[in-house]
């Protein structure tokens, strides 16, 4: 039955794919491999860390969003158009809200990657931060301090993920995962 409706989505999908090719090319560079270059270019202070975090989280969010955009139920778009929605209305009132659950899910994944990037930067040459403390503790054989830093890292990641989930449920209560 759906084959009858397919052409309507093609033009929107091709827009996503064009942007997608550029993003896929950049995404192919592993974030860890970028660390020395970013620290050289932006320094070991907060700017360098920020650049690494952005580099690390943009791509998982993009990939999830891109895949979700390709898989939006076309009937939602047809329904909107048959209710009088313009192209802009379809994008703003259907496509963007339909992407929210995927974006929230990918932000949760990106939280872990963001912490990974921070720690990688701190291990590679910072003079402060949990990664730096783990590295220094390793040099002086202080396993207790290393474990303490790891526990704090785990807690921070867990709490950030919890906060993202809570905020998303407040902002978008309909995106709550449910049993089908």
């Amino acid at each position: 039955m759906l084959s009858a409706w397919v052409w309507e989505l093609d033009e929107m999908a091709s827009l996503y794919d064009t942007i997608g090719i550029l993003m896929q090319l950049l995404r192919a560079i592993p974030v860890i491999a970028v660390v020395p270059f970013v620290l050289l270019w932006f320094g070991v202070a907060e700017t360098g860390k920020l650049v690494l975090i952005v580099w690390g989280i943009v791509f998982p969010i993009w990939v999830a969003t891109h895949a979700a955009a390709r898989n939006i139920d076309p009937r939602l778009i047809w329904a909107a158009k048959s209710l009088g929605a313009s192209r802009f209305d379809v994008f703003a009132s259907v496509v963007l809200p339909a992407l929210v659950p995927s974006i929230v899910g990918s932000v949760r994944v990106a939280v872990g990657i963001g912490y990974l990037c921070v720690v990688a930067a701190e291990l590679a040459g910072a003079d402060s931060g949990l990664g730096y403390r783990i590295w220094v503790s390793h040099l002086v054989f202080r396993a207790d301090r290393m474990v303490a830093a790891l526990v704090v890292l785990g807690l921070l990641t867990f709490l950030t993920d919890w906060a993202v989930t809570k905020v998303s449920l407040i902002l978008w209560p309909w995106s709550r995962p449910r049993e089908s």
Binding site: M1, A4, L76, K81, L83, G84, S93, P97, V100, W174
Partner: protein, 265 residues
């Protein structure tokens, strides 16, 4: 002038191109209710897609009041088998969507929401999200959403197929009450032959070999129909006749049997 017209419409899909139907022509008067029945794959949904402006015919033209249909429009509202409500909007937001897209102000939107939720028996549910509703309630909201956009034509694709018999009867009665004033035209694709007779002025029986409309059953029952009509002898006779027409189509082609829910009594 006809409300809807198919003039020699052909539609083909796939590689190599396989025709869904060829050179199909029919017309629909304003206020008329038409049902499309037939074996699976016979082109019922494709016909709705062309009428909705979501599918361009390979040849021929589809017209509304003499003007060629070239894209979707709020003049032709779509009701899907599965409600297809916007999950991020409340019932109020879903029903107000059409008026909002057409530039209605907040107060006008609220008037529309209030009126149509009352008409479909869902007052007091305005602030619920679709996931908080039953399947039947969601389908009611879907119908209210379409009607709030004030379409002249309703296109319904197996609108009640996902419902149990009791809810289906309930929604058929409701839909009929909304169509009784003959201000709207409706085209309903359905596998339910009883539903086709109950709702329609004419039933188009599609075939698969050759493809297209093979028979037209004129339902001469009065437009203002009550639920009890289903038990009257004339209704039963028409239903049995339609079942026979569809079975003849299935026998004449190698089609998958229709998902028939009603047997002749």
């Amino acid at each position: 002038m006809k409300e809807l017209e198919f003039r020699g419409v052909s539609v083909a899909f796939g590689t190599p191109l396989s025709p869904v139907f060829e050179q199909m022509s029919f017309d629909v008067e304003r206020g008329e209710v038409i049902s499309l029945v037939g074996p699976s794959g016979c082109g019922k949904t494709t016909t709705l897609a062309v009428l909705g402006g979501f599918l361009r015919p390979s040849s021929g033209s589809a017209l509304m009041r003499g003007v060629e249909i070239r894209g979707a429009s709020h003049e032709r509202g779509l009701v899907f088998q599965e409600h297809c409500l916007f999950p991020w909007l409340t019932v109020r937001g879903n029903v107000a969507f059409g008026p909002r897209m057409q530039g209605a102000g907040k107060s006008e939107q609220q008037v529309a929401v209030k009126e149509w939720l009352k008409r479909v028996g869902l007052e007091g549910q305005e602030d619920k999200y679709p996931f908080e509703l039953s399947v039947g309630m969601m389908q009611r909201v879907g119908i209210a959403r379409v009607l709030a956009a004030q379409p002249d034509v309703l296109l319904l694709d197996e609108p009640f197929a996902a419902l149990d018999t009791e809810r289906r009867y309930d929604l058929q009665d409701m839909l009929l009450s909304l169509l009784n004033d003959r201000t709207r035209t409706a085209v309903v694709a359905t596998h339910d032959l009883e539903e086709a007779v109950f709702l329609s002025d004419r039933v188009f029986v599609f075939g698969t070999s050759p493809k297209g409309i093979r028979e037209v059953l004129r339902v001469g029952l009065p437009r203002s129909r009550q639920p009890e009509l289903r038990y009257e002898s004339e209704f039963t006779r028409l239903k049995a006749k339609l079942v026979e027409l569809v079975r003849a189509e299935i026998r004449s082609g190698s089609a998958t049997p229709v998902g028939q829910t009603v047997a002749p009594t």
